[in-house]
């Protein structure tokens, strides 16, 4: 969105990597800036991901990149060979385009750099030292109370390191390498200086951005690639491996996660290259002097990642998981229920469930797919469609289990090429009652008809809390009080679940029913449900009472009267 395409011109313009560089002129500085820009762009997301502070630098990587881009735009067409004049233009561009805190600081770094170069035609080691010192001084002047552990600290450490190195070597390539190493060290140390970084388990983002700017220059001189590296190294604290479970494919039998540390910093490209020969779904995290790698491999290669890591350093923790088991038992472990095996050509019932407990009951009754949703979280037509489109059958029955979802279910029906029936169940008890009529190998049209009949054979009571004070059907309801609905109609209000419940059942035709089933929601304790059940058994001694965990939100109780 930000970048224009910059052709990176011939590399030889700076130097051959074996020979030393004695001086740099304006055009060479331009190439180096271009390389910085590309490398920062390649690593922009990584820098962004390091943010701990919600403000003021919400997207450090992007801000620094925009600042560098503005600097580059200023000189993109310049043929200036005088490095002083070139640097001045860069500084001017950076100033005009400075975004965010780190962008402003970066522009000050360039400004100091340019001032030291003045109108010099070329830069040698001695001038580089002076220029970096001026960068540091200018950067520090811009703030009353410099915060250490930020980009300021990094430019300070870089200038000191280069100054020391220049005593031994006049080779600019060597000095830039020194600068990169110093920046790397300095960035790694930032959590020690700034506690908020340590808490979040990251390094300073602005400092890391400056590191990439310098590293881009070095990579250019060395002839390394400036493309985004294939592997995104993420801060360890941000590493989230839950997604990796979602799309498991053929050949991904075992998941291996290894924590390890190495003596030398890892060459991530080689590391990633080697890992990709072993397996897929590779992720690498870095933090606090250690690495974590994640990979999916085939059965035979289970031990290979560890063998490879052993050649690089010391591992501290390994965890493995059999993905094949995970696949078959996936729903069971993640969602708390396991669907019955679906046989090709059977009638597939797709049901909407508002809670885990209810999903479990639906699963035990043989539904082919469950869509999560309910009162305030209606699934979309697309979600419903997706739930059954891939099932190997032509006959589908949808149980929306909520009146707000019936419409979406009907739309899904009209969009599907399959033979779809919508049984317009408007509550969980209705849905469950309909499920009892399922014969998976029967005639779909017949069964759908029977299911529709079954809907009237059950009364649904719901107990929830009022979210506002109103008067409906002559019932005065106060915000926060418990209310009872019979078949979707608000009939009673009470001070407790128990009270609302007994009042509500008085309104129902209990003589026609012989069984009371309570499904309790996520916002009520089992003890409380037992009290209600005890009370109900005293009121209705001839009725059978059952209690199930429903896990639904909002509704303390959903009661089925059959």
């Amino acid at each position: 969105m930000i970048m224009t395409n910059i052709p990176l011109e011939t590399r030889e313009t700076v130097t051959d990597s074996k020979t030393s560089i004695k001086s740099i002129d304006g055009q060479k500085l331009k190439r180096l800036l271009e390389a910085s820009l590309l490398w920062l762009k390649a690593n922009q997301q990584l820098v962004n991901s390091l943010n701990v502070f919600p403000v003021p630098d919400g997207d450090t990587g992007t801000n620094m990149l925009l600042t560098m881009q503005a600097a580059y735009n200023e000189i993109a067409n310049s043929n200036e060979s005088n490095i002083g004049k070139m640097a001045k233009d860069i500084a001017q561009g950076a100033l005009m385009g400075a975004r965010g805190n780190s962008g402003v600081i970066l522009s000050q770094i360039w400004r100091g750099f340019a001032r030291a170069l003045d109108t010099l035609p070329e830069m040698d080691a001695e001038i580089l030292v002076r220029a970096l010192n001026e960068s540091r001084n200018t950067a520090y002047k811009g703030v009353v109370r410099p915060v250490e552990g930020t980009i300021l600290t990094v430019i300070k450490d870089v200038s000191i390191a280069v100054e020391n190195a220049a005593l031994k070597s006049q080779d600019l390539q060597e000095l830039i390498r020194t600068a990169v190493n110093a920046a790397d060290e300095s960035v790694k140390f930032t959590p020690e200086l700034l506690p908020i970084l340590k808490t979040a388990g990251v390094v300073d983002s602005g400092g890391k951005g400056l590191f990439f700017i310098l590293e881009g220059m070095l990579r250019y001189i060395q002839g390394s690639s400036l493309e985004a590296s294939a592997v995104m190294v993420q801060p360890l604290a941000n590493m989230d491996l839950t997604d990796t479970m979602e799309d498991i494919e053929e050949g991904q039998d075992v998941e291996v996660v290894i924590d390890f540390s190495t003596k030398e910093p890892l060459d991530l490209e080689i590391f990633y290259q080697r890992l990709s020969e072993i397996g897929t779904s590779i992720q690498v995290g870095e933090g606090d002097g250690m690495y974590r790698m994640h990979i999916h491999v085939e059965d035979e290669k289970t031990n290979e990642p560890l063998k490879y890591i052993a050649t690089l350093g010391t591992w501290s923790k390994i965890s493995m998981e059999n993905l094949k088991l995970q696949m078959s038992g996936k729903q069971d472990s993640e969602q708390g229920y396991q669907l019955a095996e679906f046989h090709e050509g059977d009638i597939a019932v797709v049901a909407v469930s508002p809670g885990k407990g209810i999903s479990r009951i639906l699963a035990s009754l043989g539904v082919a797919a469950i869509i999560e949703g309910g009162q305030t979280m209606n699934p979309s037509t697309e979600q419903i469609l997706k739930a059954f489109e891939d099932l190997p059958t032509n006959n589908v029955i949808i149980l929306p289990n909520n009146k707000n979802i019936v419409l979406a279910a009907n739309t899904a029906k009209s969009l599907s090429v399959k033979n779809v029936h919508v049984v317009p169940s408007t509550s969980i008890p209705q849905g469950l009652s309909a499920m009892l009529r399922l014969d998976p190998e029967g005639d779909a049209d017949e069964i759908a008809k029977e299911m529709v009949n079954a809907l009237t054979e059950v009364d649904t009571c719901e107990i929830t809390t009022a979210t506002r004070s109103v008067e409906i059907n002559g019932v005065e309801v106060k915000n926060g009080k418990f209310i009872g609905l019979l078949n979707g109609k608000l009939l009673v209000s009470g001070n407790s679940v128990d009270e609302a419940c007994s009042l509500l059942l008085e309104k129902a035709d209990m003589t026609a029913r012989e069984r009371i089933t309570l499904f309790y929601g996520e916002n009520i304790e089992r003890d409380e449900v037992d009290v209600v059940s005890q009370h109900l058994s005293e009121l209705y001694p001839d009725h059978e009472i059952e209690i199930h965990e429903g896990g639904q939100p909002h509704y303390h109780l959903i009661i089925s009267l059959e």
Partner: protein, 118 residues
């Protein structure tokens, strides 16, 4: 006085306290090299009492704050970026430390400090 209630009673946070938070965070914000009095009279009174919160005005209604800050910016920085950074950091710090909500932070750039001419 600014108030917020908890279950045991009320919490009072003075304008002065809020102004201190604002001025401290502004001074750690890059590009801000000082705070300035709004006018001469203010400036004199601040000198006399060694006011630590010169250059900050806090006004308050319905648990919402409006902050005005009078700042000196380093010459050679992009004023717009510096000002928007400082307003964000001031808002963040006040909201984070006091739990009050900040409606506006107005930054008045009263001058530039020239350390180096280019």
């Amino acid at each position: 006085m600014t108030t917020a209630d908890n279950t045991l009673g009320s919490i009072y946070i003075s304008h002065r306290a809020i102004a201190s938070i604002a001025s401290q965070s502004a001074l750690t914000s890059y590009g801000i090299v000082g705070l300035a009095a709004k006018n001469l009279a203010d400036s004199l009174s601040h000198v006399l009492v060694k006011e630590p919160i010169m250059g900050v005005e806090v006004s308050f209604s319905d648990l919402v704050l409006d902050i005005d800050m009078y700042v000196i910016v380093e010459y050679g920085t992009r004023i717009k970026s510096v000002a928007s950074s400082v307003s964000e950091i001031v808002k963040y710090q006040i909201e984070n430390t006091t739990g009050l909500s900040v409606n506006s932070v107005n930054i008045h750039v009263r001058g530039l400090r020239i350390s180096n001419t280019d």
